[in-house]
Point group: C2
Chain length 143, copies 2
């Protein structure tokens, strides 16, 4: 069980926009060629990033730009933009209310799992687009 491609794809998009901002217009076709997914997927994801206020997309003329500096965009922003804000795990809707375990498990286990999720979100906040771009440049320079 895994999360979908969406966070990695959205992150890839933001990195490409920033990395090539002075060289290429960031159209869905251009971005699709780096990520290697269908341009429609790029447009949908770009739509989510736009709704979250992370990018501006030029209708008609084409191209996307970041609305903030890459130091100010974290994986948390990206995750919130492309994933539903929901529990980490599914819970059985109707456990047996006559069983002490059944009638309390959602509350008790759900609380613990929500804490885990909050830690995960806090971790996401520690990583910025600028960090990732710096790591990429470092790797490029290394070899």
């Amino acid at each position: 069980m895994q999360f979908s491609f969406r966070l990695p794809v959205a992150t890839h998009i933001l990195l490409c926009i920033e990395r090539f901002k002075d060289e290429y217009k960031a159209t869905s076709t251009f971005l699709a060629s780096s990520v290697n997914v269908n341009p429609v997927i790029i447009r949908k994801t770009l739509g989510q990033l736009k709704a979250a206020g992370l990018v501006d997309v030029a209708a008609g003329v084409g191209g996307a730009k970041l609305t903030k500096s890459p130091e100010d965009i974290t994986l948390w922003d990206v995750f919130q933009a492309v994933e539903e804000d929901e529990d980490l795990f599914h819970f059985q809707e109707n456990p047996n209310p006559k069983c002490p375990v059944g009638r309390n498990i959602h509350g008790v286990l759900g609380d613990r799992l929500e804490e885990v999720r909050q830690h995960m979100l806090a971790d996401f906040k520690k990583v910025t687009i600028a960090d990732l771009l710096a790591s990429i440049e470092a790797k490029e320079a290394a070899e």
Copy 2:
């Protein structure tokens, strides 16, 4: 995007086995009536917990028992028993190798996300079946 029912169901099973160990034989039918899923799901999950060494299941005569004390079983054990040990997110298989972002994103972003996953697993280790049972008893006593 969420993880499946499996961790909550498996946890529910372990809690019921322990909670009712002196009152009822923990058959798949009995457990199914508390969790409210099909007994076959219980048997499959019980099979995973058995493979992970967390329970003994009596073939033929029926019933399951914990192999360790509930203080020594954590959500990490349960998670490992029922979920694949894989990346948290899918990555695009073939990003463009001619693009500096495309050829480095898996390495760079994958590393950060793996750290997040390790933190999540560490969080799971902090919660035991005994903790959860204590919380349930506390809730029961409260009202």
